[in-house]
């Protein structure tokens, strides 16, 4: 199929060349039409939507299912765990009462851990991706549009940020940050751990979006419609707001959609290293870590969080690809 190049979105339709199929088809509608024809995209979007619904409705699911993620069933009642704390029955203790079995050690319900773990993963992923994308767009736009010395300094800042041993820093700093910001006699608030993880992943993750947006802005800056706006006396702020940003929508969406799966795996890695979200908040990374410890005797426990992570991350990545194809058809596979 042949599709005409997108007209810059900020320009009035009257300025678009005559190759557009009809006067009523906006670029967004064209992209939507393209996306609907992409079967992989639709399937992955449905999978992501399913995870989102599960995460949002976790308490309802728990209510219907009759279990919660915090009760230590295997410790409270006999017969679920062996005396040494492993699931007493086959396949990790899967049964009609415990759909995905019971957790080794504490004996909590694996299915509910998984459902509530989706909340942790997706909440952190959306929070971090939103922060990094907004910051990246601002940083990239400023550096790219102003150019010259500002662009040079911005580039060096990105270089330095990329060279930072962030993970090491997090492992060493997180206990210090926490003890500094909480009084010795009170419980560390749960939001604090979330805040630390979100801040750290944001600080580690904004650079790629900033670079990408900067490149886009550099090329847009030289386009005729920007020159025209500049010559007609528009202020820099107006040019950025009315001419540049509307044209950055598609790269921004792509950046966002590719950042979310990266953050999910990043957060799981933090938990795996023991510096992520703490007990008793359910977390997939921690489940994978504990599953790896018992895989030789209870492999089922590793499969549930592993499969969930795999499916969600693949679905998000494919969705990101499809979005990019739909919004930016020049980048063919």
């Amino acid at each position: 199929m042949s599709i005409a190049a997108d007209p810059p979105a900020g320009e009035p339709p009257a300025e678009v060349s005559g190759s557009a199929p009809g006067p009523t088809r906006s670029p967004a509608r064209i992209a939507w039409a393209r996306f609907r024809r992409d079967r992989v995209g639709v399937v992955s979007a449905a999978a992501v939507a399913l995870f989102l619904v599960v995460a949002l409705l976790a308490p309802v699911i728990g209510w219907i299912y009759g279990r919660n993620p915090y009760t230590t069933y295997g410790v409270n009642q006999g017969g679920l765990l062996t005396p040494s704390g492993l699931p007493a029955h086959r396949f990790g203790g899967m049964s009609s009462g415990f759909w995905l079995g019971v957790e080794p050690g504490l004996g909590r319900d694996v299915f509910m851990q998984l459902v509530y773990g989706a909340r942790t993963s997706l909440f952190i992923a959306f929070a971090v991706s939103t922060i990094t994308t907004i910051f990246g767009v601002l940083f990239g736009t400023v550096a790219g549009y102003l150019g010259g010395r500002v662009d040079w300094i911005g580039g060096r800042i990105i270089d330095i940020a990329l060279a930072f041993p962030g993970l090491l820093l997090l492992i060493t700093m997180s206990p210090i940050i926490e003890s500094k910001f909480s009084s010795p006699n009170t419980k560390l608030p749960t939001w604090m751990r979330f805040a630390v993880v979100i801040i750290v992943l944001s600080v580690l993750g904004w650079m790629s979006s900033a670079r990408l947006i900067r490149g886009q802005v550099l090329s847009l800056r030289e386009r005729e419609f920007i020159d025209a706006a500049r010559m007609s006396g528009a202020s820099t702020w107006r040019i950025v707001r009315r001419e540049l940003l509307p044209n950055l929508w598609s790269p921004t969406l792509i950046v966002l959609s590719l950042s979310i799966p990266a953050v999910i795996t990043g957060e799981a890695a933090l938990s795996f290293l023991g510096v992520g979200i703490l007990e008793p908040i359910p977390d997939w990374g921690r489940m994978v870590k504990n599953g790896a410890d018992v895989y030789s005797t209870d492999p089922t426990y590793l499969i549930a969080p592993g499969a969930a992570l795999l499916i969600l991350v693949i679905a998000l990545n494919l969705l990101g690809d499809s979005l990019r194809d739909a919004l930016d058809p020049k980048s063919t596979r």
């Binding site: 230590t72 040494s84 492993l86």
Partner: protein
């Protein structure tokens, strides 16, 4: 005592991290109120589930060579895998149990233990007997055996023993035990009395009338000296004292010497030809070599030992215990069970209550009743990791009496706890507990403990504290926490190395480093302990220590949770493997490589 927390480390993270667990499911323990289907009621598959009485003796007539193990063969190489290298091999700096296990084949002491299962006999090693005293323990005389020699062939003399004991005073060697130094000085501040031989002074309290005789004079009667000499009575040859470097390569007096050593990586022990079996009533020395490899994680080592491929067939691990993830696999395999050693370790775990903060004994009792003993034991691996404990001393201690003072059900008694708490008018009292945020097990323990304590009417606030800092913090009398775990092992099977270091109120000092993490201070008990310390007959002293154990428990500064047990696997090509009840791990003695 100077050292914080466990004097000797139990292999693996259990003793340090794992809070808790407790007493007597099978061990005459907390009564039989647990439901039959309850995992706490399930009988352990361990062959040593029943209480084994430990028989201690002093034998002053034993001479070398040692009786041979039936079927044993000389020769072969034993490979040893350990997660961590042994920090010290200098006799003055050794304190960890793994260090002592290795020192057992490298260095001879004045006395040593002959162990056959639970029959443990203290005998003269370098000395002809365990020590002679005629005045209740103030003056002690040792005579060296004929023919004992250093690795370079020169004879071991009384001057070497004296020099070795003097080296214990050097302030730079503070990692080792301090019993002998304190006894000589008559005070815990022994550095002010004598600072070691490097300053050019010798210690008048140790006399060497001839090459074979050592006479030690104390200020007060010290009846435990024969035991301490197994720990501290190790000679050092002054002309071969390389000071700091001695820690890496001590001069051998035992059946093996160090052929090569790379810190944190490897060590090879080969036969010491100067060692004569006729002079040694304890050591068998069957293998030609011990090859140590360090740095491999516990789980990996155990997968090796289970697989037993190639040279792993004749491999052992000295300090690593079976990880709880593999425990079910080991317990369900007759082959693996047949090649494992298991026994009660000298470590007891208890929960220390900060008595500076919780002054009402009813609240302390409520904590004790509410504690989820059996649930926590299940979490760390179940009955195979140890018996729930009633007393503060390990079953390996001389005089240990596992008497049940409170009859707490294995799963705790929240109703009783709530009653006590209500009576004290402190329902809803906040309990601050530290945990290690980097360790999953520590977080899981807090989940279960919190659940149980809150069911009894407490409010639990958990506080993440870095593990390394937790030891320092809870050893400080001004610490803000209410409840934290402690593990302790006796240095020799006498209550003198358990009760005074932990509960003598006069030892409490400001700042970190207190061994008494409950800050328990009762002058009546201090006076009683002073009295028992002077009893020469170890059996009689044992009975009195057991009485003190009860008196301390009546005031609940701590409550015991578990008598730890260690299970270790060895390769199928190894014969004669036994458990060392003093060091709490597999013994290097009696081992041989099957033909």
């Amino acid at each position: 005592m100077r050292h914080p927390l466990p004097r000797r480390r139990i292999a693996g993270p259990l003793a340090l991290l794992c809070a808790a667990v407790l007493s007597g499911c099978q061990f005459g323990g907390h009564g039989a109120s647990a439901a039959a289907a309850d995992s706490c009621g399930v009988q352990s598959t361990s062959p040593t589930a029943t209480a084994a009485p430990y028989n201690y003796r002093l034998d002053n007539t034993v001479n070398g060579p040692v009786a041979q193990v039936p079927g044993a063969r000389t020769g072969g190489i034993v490979t040893v895998y350990d997660a961590d290298d042994y920090p010290h091999l200098d006799p003055a700096r050794i304190y960890l149990n793994s260090e002592q296990s290795v020192a057992f084949v490298l260095s001879r002491a004045l006395t040593q233990y002959v162990q056959h299962g639970t029959d443990i006999t203290l005998v003269g090693d370098l000395a002809t007997d365990t020590g002679r005293t005629t005045d209740g323990g103030k003056n002690w005389t040792y005579t060296l055996r004929d023919g004992v020699a250093w690795e370079d062939g020169s004879p071991i003399t009384s001057a070497d023993v004296k020099y070795g004991l003097e080296r214990e005073f050097v302030s730079g060697y503070s990692e080792g035990p301090t019993y002998f130094q304190s006894w000589i000085a008559g005070t815990d501040d022994f550095g002010s009395v004598y600072s070691g031989p490097y300053a050019g002074k010798t210690l008048d309290a140790i006399a060497t009338p001839d090459d074979k005789t050592i006479v030690i004079t104390f200020k007060n009667p010290e009846p435990d000296l024969p035991f301490d000499m197994a720990l501290q009575g190790v000679p050092v040859k002054a002309s071969k004292d390389t000071r700091e470097a001695y820690d890496q390569h001590p001069l051998s007096s035992g059946p093996y010497k160090i052929a090569s050593r790379e810190i944190d990586k490897s060590m090879v022990l080969v036969r010491n030809s100067a060692w004569k079996p006729d002079t040694d009533p304890i050591r068998t020395a069957y293998p030609d070599q011990f090859v140590f490899n360090f740095g491999e994680p516990e789980l990996q080592t155990y997968q090796r030992l289970i697989g037993a491929a190639g040279s792993d067939a004749t491999a052992i691990t000295l300090s690593d215990v079976v990880p709880h993830q593999l425990l079910d696999q080991v317990l369900s395999s007759p082959d693996l069970l047949a090649r494992s050693v298991v026994s009660v370790s000298p470590f007891v775990n208890f929960e220390s209550i900060n008595t500076k903060r919780i002054t009402d004994v009813r609240v302390r009792k409520a904590l004790m009743y509410a504690w989820p003993y059996c649930q926590l034991r299940q979490l760390i691996g179940g009955a195979d990791t140890g018996e729930l404990a009633n007393a503060l001393s390990s079953p390996t201690l001389l005089g240990h009496a596992d008497d049940n003072l409170y009859n707490i059900p294995p799963r705790g008694d929240p109703a009783m706890a709530r009653e006590l708490l209500t009576a004290a008018g402190q329902l809803g009292r906040t309990i601050l507990v530290p945990f290690d945020p980097q360790t999953e097990l520590s977080q899981q323990i807090v989940i279960i403990a919190k659940q149980a304590l809150e069911a009894a009417g407490f409010k639990v606030v958990e506080k993440p504290v870095d593990r390394k800092r937790q030891n320092d913090q809870v050893g400080n009398p001004s610490n803000p926490y209410d409840l934290y775990p402690t593990a302790w092992s006796a240095d020799w099977p006498s209550g003198a190395t358990v009760y005074p270091p932990l509960w003598d109120g006069r030892l409490i000092h400001a700042g970190p480093g207190n061994s008494d993490k409950s800050f328990f201070d009762d002058p009546a008990i201090d006076a009683e302990m002073d009295q028992v310390k002077t009893i020469v007959d170890p059996i009689e002293a044992g009975k009195r220590w057991a009485q003190i154990d009860r008196e301390i428990r009546a005031q609940v500064p701590v409550f015991p949770t578990i008598y730890f047990r260690s299970r270790q696997i060895y390769g199928p090509g190894i014969g004669g493997a036994t458990f060392d009840n003093i060091y709490g791990e597999i013994s290097l003695n009696y081992l041989y490589v099957k033909s």
